[in-house]
C-alpha cells in the first residue's frame, strides 16, 4: 500500500513540474515595462517555447507580471486583479521601480516597495530589463516553482491583515471585501 505522504509528494512533484512548464501571464501592462513583453513573446526570444503564454483574464492566469512602477491608482486595480486570480499564483516584480522606487523614489504617486502590498516571488532588475533578463526571471520562477518554494500566495493569506493595513494606508477607498478566493 502506498503511503499517503509519499503519494502526496509524488503528486506534488508532477504538479509542480506541470506548473513550471505552463506559465500563463496575465496581459496587464501596468507600466512602461510592458514594452519589452512583445519582444519577449515574439520570434527572437520566443517565451512560448518555455510554456510562457499570455492569458486574457485574471481567472485564467498564473502569473501577475507587474511591469514597472505602480501608481496608487493602478495598485488598487492590481490588488483586485491579484485577488481574482486562482491559486497557485505568482507575482513577478519587473524593473527597478518595483524594487525600491528606482528613479521615482521621491514621486508622490508611485509606490516604492511592491512587496509591502503584494507577495512577490521573483524580482527582475533593470530599467528596462532586457528580454534576456525577463527570460531569466521566468527561469528563476520555474526553478522555485519546481522546488515548491514559490509560496507567495500562501504568505499573502497568512499575513493578510498586515498586507491589507499597508494597502489601506495609501488607498483610502479600497473595497474592504474579505479575501476568500
Amino acid at each position: 500500500m502506498i503511503n499517503d505522504k509519499n503519494s502526496q509528494k509524488i503528486v506534488d512533484i508532477i504538479q509542480n513540474w506541470a506548473r513550471k512548464h505552463s506559465i500563463w501571464v496575465l496581459a496587464y501592462g501596468t507600466g512602461c515595462g510592458a514594452i519589452e513583453i512583445p519582444p519577449t513573446m515574439t520570434s527572437r526570444y520566443d517565451a512560448e517555447r518555455l510554456g510562457v503564454r499570455g492569458a486574457a483574464t485574471p481567472r485564467q492566469a498564473d502569473v501577475l507580471l507587474v511591469t514597472g512602477y505602480l501608481t496608487t491608482k493602478t495598485l488598487k486595480r492590481v490588488i483586485r486583479v491579484y485577488e481574482q486570480m486562482q491559486d497557485p499564483k505568482f507575482v513577478i516584480g519587473f524593473g527597478s521601480c518595483t524594487i525600491n522606487g528606482g528613479m521615482y523614489y521621491d514621486s508622490y504617486n508611485t509606490i516604492k516597495l511592491l512587496d509591502k502590498y503584494l507577495p512577490v516571488d521573483v524580482y527582475i532588475n533593470g530599467c528596462m530589463p532586457r528580454p534576456e533578463a525577463v527570460l531569466a526571471g521566468f527561469g528563476k520562477l520555474q526553478e522555485i516553482i519546481a522546488e515548491g518554494r514559490a509560496n507567495g500566495a500562501q504568505k499573502y493569506k497568512d499575513n493578510l491583515e498586515w498586507y491589507k493595513a499597508n494597502q489601506k494606508k495609501i488607498i483610502p477607498s479600497l473595497l474592504t471585501t474579505d479575501y476568500n478566493w
Partner: protein
C-alpha cells in the same frame, strides 16, 4: 422595446487596450452610444520630479515619457535647453540626431504594425514586425548601450560618435527591412478582410480634425498635408528630400496607408543622411552639471513623432533646475476627447483598432 444600455468596462486590465487606461463604454447591443475615458493609471509625476532635479538629471526622465518612441522626447529637451541657453550644436551631431530619430520612428512603426493587426486578430504580423524590430534595437544598443532608453541625444550634441562601420550596418538593416516591408504589404494591405475591417471605421473627418486639434498621421489620413518636419523644420530636415504622404479616406485604412508610406520615407531619409553626413565633432561640452545654470527664459519646441506633433515647454528661472517642463504628446489630444467622440456609434469590435489607429499612448497622456 428599447434595448437597455449596458456599461462595459474596457480596461485597465484588458488585452485590447493600448497601455494602461480605461474606457467606460455604454453599449446598446454591439453599438457604442457613449464613451468616457479614464486615465491616470500611469501618472508618475515626472514634471514635478523634474523641478527637483538639475538640468542633466531631468534629461534622464525625458525618454521615459513614452516608451514606444523615446528619442523625440530626448531631442526636444536637448533642443529646448539649447534654445534657452543659445548653445550651438555641431553639424555632424544634427545629422546623427536625425538618423537616430528616424530609426526610432521606424522601430515605432514596427510596433504599430503589430498593434494595429493584433487588434484585428492578425497575430502573425505582430510576430513578424516586432521580431524584425529587434534588428533596429540592436543598432541602438551598439550606438547607445540601451535597447529602449537611449539617453543619447543630449544638450549640446549627441553623447558619442558613431562606432566604426556603423553606417554600413545601418544600411544593411535598412535593406533587410525594406524587403520585409513588402512582405508586410502582402499580408496586410493585400488582405481583403483587413480592408473590410478598416474601411469606413473610426472616421475623423476634416472638420473634426480641426476642431480637436488633431495632429500627425491622423490629420494626414483625412487629407490635410501637415508635418512638423516640413512646417516648422528642426535639425536638418529642411536639407533633406522626402514627401509627406496624405490620404483622403479619413478612416483606419487610410491612416494605415499613410503610415505605410511614412515608414518607407524614413528609410529614404536615413539613406540620405548617411550619404551627406559631414565630419567633425559631435558634442559641445556642457559645464559641470552640478553647477550648470541656464539663463532665465522659456522655449516651446515641437517635433514630429509617429503619433504626431509632440511639444515641450521648458521654463528656466535662472537656476540649476528647470522651473517647469511640460510635455504635450499627440496622445494627449487623440487619447481623450477625440477618442471619446470617435467611438460613439462604432462597434465594440473596433475599439481596440481605433485606439491603435489614433496612436493612443497613455504614458504620454499622464506623464
Amino acid at each position: 422595446m428599447r434595448e437597455k444600455a449596458t456599461t462595459l468596462y474596457f480596461g485597465p486590465q484588458h488585452p485590447g487596450i493600448t497601455g494602461n487606461m480605461m474606457i467606460r463604454l455604454k453599449v446598446e447591443g454591439d453599438t457604442i452610444i457613449k464613451a468616457t475615458t479614464e486615465v491616470g493609471y500611469l501618472h508618475r509625476a515626472f514634471e514635478k520630479l523634474q523641478e527637483k532635479r538639475n538640468w542633466l538629471q531631468s534629461f534622464t526622465m525625458m525618454c521615459r515619457f513614452c516608451v514606444p518612441e523615446t528619442d523625440p522626447m530626448e531631442e526636444l529637451y536637448a533642443r529646448a535647453v539649447e534654445e534657452i541657453e543659445g548653445r550651438e550644436v555641431p553639424e555632424r551631431a544634427k545629422y546623427i540626431r536625425v538618423m537616430v530619430l528616424e530609426l526610432a520612428r521606424l522601430a515605432s512603426f514596427m510596433l504599430w504594425y503589430g498593434g494595429q493587426n493584433g487588434s484585428l486578430g492578425l497575430y502573425t504580423m505582430g510576430q513578424w514586425s516586432v521580431g524584425d524590430r529587434n534588428y533596429i534595437l540592436d543598432l541602438f544598443e551598439e550606438l547607445t548601450g540601451g535597447r529602449i532608453y537611449h539617453m543619447y541625444i543630449w544638450p549640446g550634441g549627441v553623447r558619442r560618435d558613431l562606432p566604426k562601420g556603423f553606417e554600413g550596418r545601418v544600411l544593411k538593416t535598412l535593406d533587410y527591412l525594406e524587403k520585409r516591408l513588402d512582405d508586410y504589404d502582402d499580408l496586410m494591405f493585400d488582405n481583403a478582410i483587413f480592408k473590410k475591417r478598416t474601411q469606413g471605421v473610426g472616421i475623423v473627418d476634416k472638420a473634426t480634425a480641426v476642431e480637436h486639434g488633431v495632429v500627425g498621421a491622423v490629420l494626414r489620413g483625412c487629407g490635410i498635408k501637415s508635418d512638423i518636419r516640413i512646417d516648422d523644420p528642426y535639425e536638418v530636415y529642411d536639407k533633406l528630400d522626402f514627401i509627406v504622404p496624405t490620404s483622403d479616406g479619413a478612416d483606419i485604412w487610410s491612416r494605415a496607408l499613410v503610415r505605410r508610406q511614412e515608414a518607407r520615407q524614413s528609410i529614404r531619409i536615413i539613406r540620405q543622411v548617411i550619404d551627406t553626413m559631414p565630419g567633425g565633432s559631435v558634442y559641445n561640452k556642457i559645464p559641470n552639471p552640478q553647477k550648470w545654470k541656464l539663463p532665465k527664459g522659456d522655449a516651446y519646441v515641437r517635433a514630429e513623432s509617429v503619433r504626431g506633433e509632440v511639444g515641450l515647454y521648458v521654463v528656466s528661472d535662472g537656476g540649476t533646475m528647470p522651473r517647469r517642463v511640460h510635455l504635450r504628446g499627440a496622445a494627449y489630444v487623440h487619447g481623450i476627447t477625440l477618442l471619446e467622440d470617435v467611438l460613439v456609434g462604432e462597434n465594440i469590435a473596433d475599439v481596440s483598432a481605433i485606439m491603435n489607429s489614433l496612436g493612443t499612448c497613455p504614458p504620454e497622456i499622464e506623464r
